[in-house]
């Protein structure tokens, strides 16, 4: 056996070895990935529910839910106050 032939054989064996390792570890990796995705999904659901509960409570304590404005400079509360004042004009 020449040195070149030995190198080629060695490389093939190494490649096959990695292949086997990958084949063995792939299902575990997939399982782990699925677990992470499930956990992140569950976390998102929990955060969304918690946020909606929090904002609902916040809405009940204020006289407005949300304010949009095309400019900065006036606070949300000031706009709500103007909405109230305009009704008394």
């Amino acid at each position: 056996m020449t040195e070149n032939e030995f190198d080629m054989l060695w490389q093939r064996a190494e490649a096959e070895g990695y292949g086997k390792r990958l084949a063995a570890e792939y299902p575990l990796w997939r399982q782990k990935q699925r677990r992470v995705v499930s956990m992140v999904t569950a976390l998102l659901i929990v955060v969304t529910v918690a946020m909606s509960l929090f904002t609902t409570q916040l809405h009940h304590s204020r006289n407005y839910e949300k304010v949009y404005c095309n400019r900065v400079g006036t606070t949300d509360a000031q706009w709500a106050s103007l909405a109230a004042e305009m009704l008394l004009e």
Binding site: T41, Y64, K66, C69, N70, T74, A83, L88, E89
Partner: protein, 135 residues
């Protein structure tokens, strides 16, 4: 990963609250400050959406007055407006309407979107109660 993307796509429209067509139609115009107060509380059970327009100068106010057929210089005016054409005065019906209040001294117009009869009643009660308190 696909599940995450689908979930986010489902959640985004819920999280992002929509701006009304009325707000959008005025928000892009020059010399106008426009705000939408969503869920303005009238009483414990009734809330309405309000769009407020403030003209920056007299010229813009004059233009706005002309568009909405607002007569008179000083006193504030109010009317029930068509939901799609606020300048058009309408009588109360069960369909959604706008309660429009215009104040020339403030160069401000407020549009209260009324979807139900109970919201209309609540709005009138709110005005009556607060005017009494103001006196």
């Amino acid at each position: 990963m696909k599940r995450l993307i689908i979930l986010l796509m489902l959640l985004l429209p819920i999280v992002a609250m929509a701006q009304s067509g009325l707000y959008k139609s005025y928000a892009s115009r020059q010399n106008l400050t426009v705000a939408q107060v969503s869920g303005f509380k009238l009483n414990e059970s009734e809330r309405v959406d309000v769009v407020i327009i403030v003209a920056d100068d007299d010229a813009t106010w004059q233009q706005l007055s002309k568009e909405l057929n607002i007569m008179g210089e000083n006193g504030s005016v109010s009317w029930l407006g068509d939901i799609d054409k606020p300048a058009q005065r309408v009588k109360w019906s069960s369909t959604p309407v706008l309660r429009v209040v215009a104040s020339p001294t403030r160069r401000t117009i407020a549009f209260y979107r009324i979807n139900t009869e109970s919201q209309y009643d609540a709005l009138l009660d709110y005005q009556l109660n607060n005017m009494k308190q103001a006196k």
